[in-house]
Amino acid sequence: MPTAMRRIDQIVREHRFFAGLTDADVDLISGCARNVAFAAGDYLCREGQPADRFFLLRHGRVALEIAAPGHGALTFQTLAEGEIVGVSWLVAPYRWQHDARALEPTRAIAMDAKCLRGKCDADHDLGYEMMQRFVPLLVQRLHATVLQALDIYGDAHKS
């Protein structure tokens, strides 16, 4: 559907995560992209399931959760417009390590991970562009995890 295709193109191009991509790359990526919507409470993904998609949030908010025995769901991060849900699709065995649940009505672009991995394998320039976007995200999330794990507010007097 050309109209739908155009819309996806536009959305991908305008999403801040893909800022700076060439038109050719946007076309390639858009071939793997699809518009999706979730109601509040819907799950975008569940722990243990195949990470065959990731999401670029356009509207709404999403909680990343881990089931903690005795505590129910423990939220360790919330994400909002402009941000990415899902990095497990990047590395084997491509399984979600957490749940992602919409906290409010949420619209997103779902990226077919297999499709995108295939295109990155075939076109390393595109793969490099994707890595340039995902590696800082991974580092940023690693830093956040370190901060959380240190529990800096726990024992310092200023906490």
Binding site: A63, L64, A68, H71, G72, A73, L74, T75, F76, Q77, T78, A80, G82, L103, Q140, H143, A144, L147, Q148, L150, D151, I152, Y153, G154, A156, H157, K158, S159
Partner: protein, 279 residues
């Protein structure tokens, strides 16, 4: 600020004590008798040396409204002998006070600019006087944003006030917790992550940062990434103190003395010494 003998504590009374969190109390005390009674008598960012008689003396920042010169407000976490003794004082009890000491948040220099206030944990207390002033003089500033991070929803300091500020249309207040269970509907994640989402013009933003040192280092990195100039970022540092007047060297930090050159520092003067574990 007139001060008779900066080494001699003045005896003042506790006017009120309020519990904020399980280990955190706010004391409202009489100002030192030589402080001006009808004009602001301290600057946001400054601190006092408070004495629990018979126990000891510790530095504690002001956490109250600088316009309210009739009472000085301090928010204290009980971590050891002195801070615990202070949090046990009740209305009518006496304590010793020396101050105000130290540098101030650069609120005059921030006029006409966007102001980003980033607080972690109890670090909100030393920033609260600055927030009062920013809100009282709201028109002098561009966008005003407060980003506050703490451990869990139960550890949110000054919760009611944060909620009140949130309802204002002229200030963006974002609160995040490290982790949450149950019915928390706010942000979860570390406070530096909120910086990327906040709406400010990095080229004309002044940032005021206070919290645990590790949080401040990560915040500094996020502010740099966002494009805020090093010279426009201020941090409040803590080191143990004795004299508070630049004599004993107890509070040394790199080549500086926190009591004399801080506690509020411009980050470019501080950054070279921040990643080093002990100085």
């Amino acid at each position: 600020m007139p001060m008779s003998d900066p080494m001699l504590p003045q005896v003042v009374r506790v006017l009120r004590r309020r519990r904020e969190l399980p280990e955190v109390w706010t004391l409202e005390i009489e100002p030192a008798s030589d402080a001006a009674a009808d004009a602001p008598n301290f600057e946001p960012g400054q601190f006092n040396m408070l004495t629990a008689f018979g126990v000891g003396e510790v530095p504690i920042s002001y956490s109250g409204d600088p316009q309210r010169s009739q009472r000085w407000v301090h928010t204290i976490r009980a971590v050891g002998a002195v801070s615990t003794a202070l949090t046990r004082l009740r209305a009518g009890d006496v304590l010793g006070v020396r101050g105000p000491f130290g540098s101030a948040w650069p609120l005059a220099a921030a006029e006409g600019r966007d102001v980003l206030v980033v607080a972690g944990g109890l670090g909100l207390a030393p920033l609260r006087p600055a927030i009062y002033r920013l809100l009282a003089q709201r028109r002098r500033y561009g966008r005003v944003t407060l980003l506050y991070g703490t451990r869990s929803p139960d550890d949110i300091l000054f919760r009611r006030e944060l909620e009140r500020w949130r309802r204002r249309l002229d200030v963006d207040v974002q609160v995040t917790v490290d982790h949450a269970v149950g019915d928390w509907h706010g942000h979860v994640g570390v406070v530096p992550a909120l910086i990327a989402r906040a709406d400010f013009d990095p080229a004309r933003t002044s940032a005021l940062v206070c919290g645990p040192e590790v949080m401040m280092r990560f915040t500094l990195a996020a502010l740099r990434t966002a494009g805020v100039a090093e010279t426009a970022i201020h941090l409040s540092m803590e080191r143990n103190m004795k004299c508070a007047v630049g004599l004993c060297g107890h509070c040394q930090f790199g080549p500086t003395l926190v009591c004399r050159d801080g506690a509020v520092y411009r980050s470019d003067l501080l950054a070279p010494y921040l990643p080093i574990r002990e100085l």
